[in-house]
Symmetry: C2
Subunit: 151 residues, 2 copies
DNA sequence: TATTGTTATACTCTATAACTATA
DNA sequence: TATAGTTATAGAGTATAACAATA
């Protein structure tokens, strides 16, 4: 066991991860037809159904104030609507509108196209498998991942 | 050959990549002691020596104007200095100062610590290998990577 | 008092447009 | 005219602080 060696290895990996992540984030943003946080919220609402501001903020790992801002923009664009929770007047249920679902489909077609194409054309199947596995590993680094052996 | 299947697979992977990249970028920024683009430039200057605004902009994949802004902030903080190129008065050489190198070391110690720790503590060696390989694959997606078989 | 949500404000990051200086 | 660089301005994204309404 050589903790020093593996620590140095981990630090180097962290640096490489930071660099490539910054560049990918910039690239995704530059290709996007609508702001990334808005699309992230729409995608989640589509997958998981209506939700509240607090819950969305926690899931997306931003402050509730930031999420309120994002939701305000989505509502102004008619992509989500709000309805008060009948059982708790403090809470507001956020729901994707039909127009929101359409916008999401557009986003996926256009804004993720460069990445989809690069993945399909430039990578081998083995590399795609590495990338898929890596998305799981990165979620673990963020503290979201399942403990190593669960589904 | 089933191009439709592999396209769908690529599109799904692209979506997962976008999500995890956005979250990692946010996390790195929230931990950083100094702005990420400034540290990226300092790191490059340290590794590769003095450079020009245009060259740094091309390498970091931002516009020259954005890079000029970043360099202006670094200079105001005393982390880089500028010296005119004697052979071409239009060009300006950017160089990391001793203070800049110190700031970079601090940044690595503090801002990348959460990721280094997570990588060292949470991941198996196999997962670290997957992650390292994935940083190479992601660079290929960005069009920076070496063609599959070179070093 | 605690919880949910919003509004106001500020800072970081990057872009486009318009400009200066040198080749 | 073309190239290297800068300044001005705007917009996206996120944060903290302060506030309103409900439990």
């Amino acid at each position: 066991m050589s903790p020093d060696l593996s620590d140095a290895q981990a630090a180097e990996l962290a640096g490489e991860l930071r660099e490539v992540v910054a560049r990918l984030a910039r690239r995704f943003r530059s290709e996007a037809t609508l702001p990334i946080p808005q699309m992230a919220v729409l995608g989640r609402l589509e997958r998981e159904g209506p939700s509240t501001t607090s819950r969305l903020a926690a899931l997306e790992q931003v402050r509730p104030q930031s999420m309120a801002h994002t939701i305000g923009e989505l509502e102004a664009a008619g992509l989500v609507d709000r309805s008060p929770d009948p059982s708790d007047g403090r809470q507001v249920l956020i729901r994707a509108t039909a127009r929101g679902v359409d916008a999401l489909a557009d986003f996926r077609r256009v804004a993720e196209r460069w990445a989809s194409t690069a993945i399909a054309v430039e990578l081998t199947q083995a590399e795609r498998d590495v990338l898929r596995e890596a998305t799981r590993v990165m979620r673990r680094i963020l503290g979201e991942g399942p403990p190593r052996d669960s589904a």
